[in-house]
């Protein structure tokens, strides 16, 4: 998509187009849901693919771009979720200028850094977000080249499958967790509970639409989910909560009620990938799809309740520690998710930490819906971070949208790679050292205070014998050449 960074000229046209879709959103929801789920291009607002998603938030109550709140509602479709395309187009065009402008100064509390030395291509699971090693471009997707093609390959698979809101049940549970979270703290859940600000808005619209429609699309067990899904459209975790609980209690439904824990690990990686394809709805599908191998829904329901409780604990973390808390929460989520998976299928659990692709493959469709409705960080948090830098500073809504997307992409890519590191460590648990290693080597980010008690052992630089001999010969020749000149000068 070649879209120059959202300019002032762009918003007006997009905003004008946006309102009409929103108005129609309530009514056509049921039909659009089915259609929307089928194709990423989504009928309702296909015309604004180029328009940055930012327009929507301003015009519509639904804040999140693509999917988040109304899986089927048109408004999200206004911007068929092309967060990455935005990144790519914007980075390609404006690229260094815009990215550098946003770089460290606006990062606020986030400890982002640029690699000091040319590091090996950092894994870029998502085209839109890559570690700073790509030069001035701040993690933008400009360089999508995906040195790490694993996540990208999984994305295509995941996206089509995500359809429908199977995750509704999950969203409900997520919502409860997220609701407890202070606004200042970004939603740590990998499940991406809808940001609190978004929830109220979306709840109304979400509920009716689509959950039913999504079910058809989602390969996960929609039938049971359908009833539960409807109450909890992706975006309103809070509203869905009451609905989801019956799910959890019944535990039979399968995907949608899938415990947030299981949902989480799968959510994160596929979230970003699927986002671009699936318009809103899919969030629920992710958990459902992830559970495809589902061994027993009851198992899912139990872990989900547990995970919810544990998630609540995380919310007490101070906002200043958001990035770190995010990492922790992600770890916890992953750990739980992995733990949850174990009972289901040993193979699955092993595969999940193995590499992001398996995780993505599992819940292919599910990721999208959940992701759309749940972001790692909310716009409110972005504003708070900006206020820490400059109290009088205000960001454009498009910029806030992009930043939210960047945050999501970052968290997902880091967690994905950290999982592969954990797998490399032959462990089923994601630990802080995995994330720390990835950030240190690929993002040049040092996070003090998390490394535990290990001392970094120094490894003498290994030199080959042949290399050493050659260096000695060179030295000799240099000294030999110098001595005559010294003698002559002296």
């Amino acid at each position: 998509m070649d879209q120059p960074p959202p300019t002032s000229s762009e918003p007006p046209p997009s905003t004008t187009t946006a309102p009409p879709p929103t108005t129609t959103s309530p009514s056509p929801e049921p039909p659009p849901l089915t259609t929307t789920t089928t194709s990423p291009s989504l009928p309702p607002l296909p015309q604004n693919p180029k328009h940055p998603t930012h327009h929507l938030p301003t015009s519509q109550p639904l804040p999140l771009p693509p999917q988040p709140l109304n899986p089927l509602s048109r408004s999200p479709f206004n911007r068929p979720y092309h967060p990455f395309s935005h990144f790519n187009s914007m980075t390609n065009h404006s690229s260094t200028a815009s990215s550098s402008s946003i770089s460290p100064a606006q990062r606020g509390g986030m400890a982002l850094g640029v690699p000091a030395h040319p590091s090996p291509q950092p894994p870029s699971s998502f085209s839109s977000l890559t570690p700073p090693s790509f030069g001035s471009q701040f993690g933008r997707g400009g360089n999508v080249n995906a040195p790490d093609s694993v996540p990208t390959t999984t994305t295509p698979q995941v996206r089509p499958s995500i359809s429908g809101m199977q995750g509704v049940g999950m969203m409900g549970s997520l919502g409860s967790g997220s609701s407890l979270r202070p606004t200042g703290v970004p939603a740590p859940h990998p499940q991406r509970p809808m940001p609190p600000s978004l929830r109220p808005q979306t709840s109304a619209s979400n509920q009716s639409p689509t959950t039913q429609n999504f079910q058809d699309h989602s390969h996960l067990r929609h039938p049971s989910v359908g009833s539960s899904a409807s109450p909890a459209p992706n975006n309103t975790p809070q509203n869905t909560q009451p609905h989801n609980q019956p799910w959890l209690s019944s535990g039979a439904q399968g995907k949608p009620p899938l415990p947030p824990a299981s949902f989480r690990p799968q959510m994160n990686p596929p979230t970003l990938q699927q986002r671009s394809h699936l318009p809103p709805q899919q969030q629920i599908a992710m958990p459902a799809s992830t559970q495809q191998p589902q061994t027993s829904s009851s198992l899912h329901s139990q872990p989900s309740s547990l995970s919810q409780q544990s998630q609540d604990q995380h919310y007490s973390l101070p906002p200043s520690r958001v990035p770190q808390s995010l990492a922790h929460q992600q770890q916890m989520a992953r750990n739980r998710g992995l733990g949850n998976q174990r009972p289901f299928a040993p193979g699955i659990s092993q595969s999940s930490p193995v590499a992001p692709p398996p995780a993505f493959n599992k819940p292919p469709p599910a990721v999208e819906p959940t992701e759309s409705c749940t972001r790692i960080i909310s716009k409110r948090s972005i504003q708070e971070i900006v206020s820490q830098i400059d109290p009088a500073e205000r960001l454009d809504p498009e910029v806030e949208d992009i930043l939210v997307d960047i945050a999501d992409d970052f968290v997902e890519s880091v967690t994905t790679f950290a999982c592969s590191l954990a797998k490399h460590r032959k462990s089923n648990t994601l630990e802080s050292k995995d994330i720390l290693l990835h950030l240190e080597k690929n993002w040049n980010m040092n996070l003090p205070g998390f490394s535990g008690d290990e001392i970094k052992c120094y490894k003498k630089p290994f030199g080959n014998d042949v290399h050493r001999e050659r260096l000695a010969v060179i030295k000799k020749s240099i000294t030999a050449a110098e001595t005559p000149s010294v003698k002559s000068s002296g």
Binding site: N446, P448, G449, S451, D453, E454, I455, K456, C457, Y458, K459, K460, P461
Partner: protein, 130 residues
């Protein structure tokens, strides 16, 4: 960076790691800089009694910085074989305030050495004179 943290320089070197290149990671002693860091933090504007978590975090930062610096210096010095002060100065060449402070401390160290030597010599003279 013992030059910079003159007060804790001695302990920092010792903490870098065991002399033998072993694969086992040794447990890092916590609170090595606790007392000194509290005073330093107060000097830089913190509360006279900072939180223990804050002190632990600052200590982690310091240890990480020193460890990283020493590893890099060793990488540079491995070619020569010996680790010299110049290696550390080379590493902070881009940070002018640090570099100037380092050179200032090194020169002060030299002056003190000279003064002590002169003092000792004087004492010897006095002793011999008596």
């Amino acid at each position: 960076m013992s030059n910079n943290n003159s007060s804790v320089g001695a302990s920092s070197k010792a903490r870098v790691g065991p002399s033998q290149p072993s694969e086992t990671s040794f447990k890092r002693k916590r609170g090595v800089f606790q007392k000194d860091l509290q005073h330093m933090m107060y000097g830089f504007g913190d509360d006279p009694n900072p939180l223990p978590e804050t002190v632990a975090l600052v200590e982690d930062i310091v240890v990480e910085y020193v460890t990283d610096m020493v590893h890099k210096a060793q990488d540079i010095a491995s070619k020569r074989g010996k680790l010299l002060t110049e290696d550390f100065l080379f590493l902070i060449r881009k940070d002018l305030p640090k570099l100037n402070r380092c050179t200032e401390l090194l020169s002060m160290n030299e002056e003190l050495k000279q003064a002590r030597k002169a003092f000792d010599v004087d004492e010897e003279k006095l002793a011999s004179a008596e």
